[in-house]
């Protein structure tokens, strides 16, 4: 298995996060490798969204050590500005309640691609294709503010996926979805993993059996425990 040798990975070690005097995350360690599927569970308020936002470089932890393989071999405690740049480049976070920009579904899905140097035709072609793969092509010209909760979640998932980050963090992606949408989403997630994208998702629903996870991590009172999968 050559793939095991040179797998890219990201580890966050000794992550601490406080809000005021409350400790939300207390020395949490967590790592994810290319193409892995990770389930993160924990009660409401246990810090799942907080940890995901830190991983995406959107929230500054009081302390964290980060290591990218193969990007740099050494354990880095970089200054935050440098770290956040690296994290933001590799990781894409999707909010628990996704935010869609004013405009059409097309505008939203194309947003990330417009940030990469890409021709208009290529953007259009990729957006159409991505929406088709997720059976959303009928929504392409709809105004995002008219979409249902489940539709919004699915559009937001495509919008993250299309930028091809190394890691996608999905915060409660299925909460508004019906059975049919969930099934399509499970299929898409499997496809993303096959494309070597690592996925971390949080969920309050039992998903065992629907998706096969490589890791299951659980947050409880600021501490992390690994569970068997």
């Amino acid at each position: 298995m050559t793939s095991l040798i040179k797998k890219a990975s990201l580890s966050l070690n000794r992550v601490c996060f406080k809000r005021g005097i409350r400790t939300i995350l207390d020395n949490v360690d967590f790592s994810v490798s290319q193409g892995e599927l990770v389930l993160m569970t924990g009660q409401n308020g246990s810090g799942k969204s907080t940890l995901l936002k830190i991983t995406a470089g959107l929230l500054k932890p009081q302390q964290a050590q980060v290591r990218f393989v193969p990007h740099d071999g050494q354990q880095g405690s970089y200054p935050w500005p440098r770290l956040k740049k690296l994290l933001r480049r590799k990781v894409c976070y999707l909010h628990q309640h996704p935010y869609l920009f004013h405009g059409s579904v097309y505008d939203n899905v194309a947003y990330g691609l417009k940030r990469q140097k890409m021709s208009k035709q290529e953007i259009e072609q990729r957006v159409v294709q991505a929406l088709q793969e997720y059976s959303l092509e009928s929504l392409i010209h709809r105004d995002c503010h008219e979409l249902s909760g489940g539709e919004k979640q699915r559009v937001a998932i495509v919008r993250s996926w299309i930028t091809r980050p190394e890691i996608i963090l999905l915060d409660e992606p299925f909460s508004n979805m019906d059975k049919e949408s969930r099934k399509k989403s499970y299929a898409l997630i499997k496809q993303m993993c096959q494309q070597d994208i690592a996925i971390v998702l949080t969920s309050h629903d039992p998903l065992i059996g629907e998706l096969s996870f490589d890791q299951h991590i659980h947050l409880y009172q600021g501490k992390m425990t690994h569970k068997s999968v």
Partner: protein, 234 residues
């Protein structure tokens, strides 16, 4: 009462007859105020964005300063500018006193705090997720800022319209630093003040009508662009 009706009819006739003097005054007003708002808007919104999205020492103090600046009367701005620009003042060599440029500077000073305060209020209440989403999808800090600004554009449009309304109707600063020179620095408010003091109301009423119509049009415009926003009670 009859006098007012008569004067109003005459005022309307004056406007419709295309009276050169009156229309010149109107054009001075618009040229000056449009230039002032064009210059002030971009830096004011950028400033408001920084105040809403970046933490730095003294941030709250700066916000308080801008809110206080809202209350500065136009005459005080005019007086200060007059002293700065007058021949013996520090900027006397620029020979700006009694020019349209001086009026534009005065109006920028009047518009700026209003633009910052109102834009800040709407950016402050904007959804933080918009910024985070832009960043996580690969936008640079600058593009993310532009995205957030686009998301709250209705609020910003209201700020621009309010600021334009303030400067096109202000008399204090334009009178002092413009000097009310016919065909050059006489604008609608200074002309109204002058005509009224001379006891000839027709021209004053005609110009007042223009201001009212403008206010009405701007507000129709604002309502129209916001028309798509959700109505709660149909």
């Amino acid at each position: 009462m009859n006098d007012l009706t008569d004067a109003s009819i005459q005022a309307l006739q004056l406007l419709l007859s295309g009276d050169a003097e009156v229309w010149n005054i109107i054009s001075v007003s618009f040229t000056v105020s449009l230039k002032a708002i064009l210059i002030a808007t971009v830096p004011a919104i950028a400033m408001a964005f920084v105040l809403a999205y970046y933490a730095f020492p003294g941030r709250r103090f700066v916000i308080t300063l801008f809110n206080t600046a809202l209350a500065i009367p136009a005459v005080v701005v005019g007086l200060t500018l007059y002293l700065l620009l007058s021949r013996s003042g520090p900027f006397g060599d620029l020979h700006l006193l009694f020019t349209q440029e001086a009026m534009i500077i005065g109006q920028i000073i009047l518009a700026f705090p209003l633009l910052v305060a109102m834009s800040h209020a709407s950016l402050q209440s904007s959804d933080q997720r918009a910024w985070e989403t832009a960043i996580t999808l690969g936008a640079s800090a600058f593009v993310a800022a532009v995205t957030v600004i686009r998301e709250v554009r209705f609020g910003l449009m209201a700020a621009i319209i309010a600021a334009f309304g303030r400067i096109i109707a202000e008399v204090g600063s334009s009178m002092m630093v413009g000097g009310n020179i016919l065909n050059y620095t006489r604008n609608i408010p200074t002309a109204i003040a002058l005509e009224t003091s001379k006891g000839s109301f027709v021209e004053g009423i005609a110009l007042g009508m223009v201001l009212l119509t403008l206010a009405l049009l701007l507000n129709f415009f604002l309502t129209a662009i916001q028309g798509k926003a959700e109505v709660i009670h149909q």
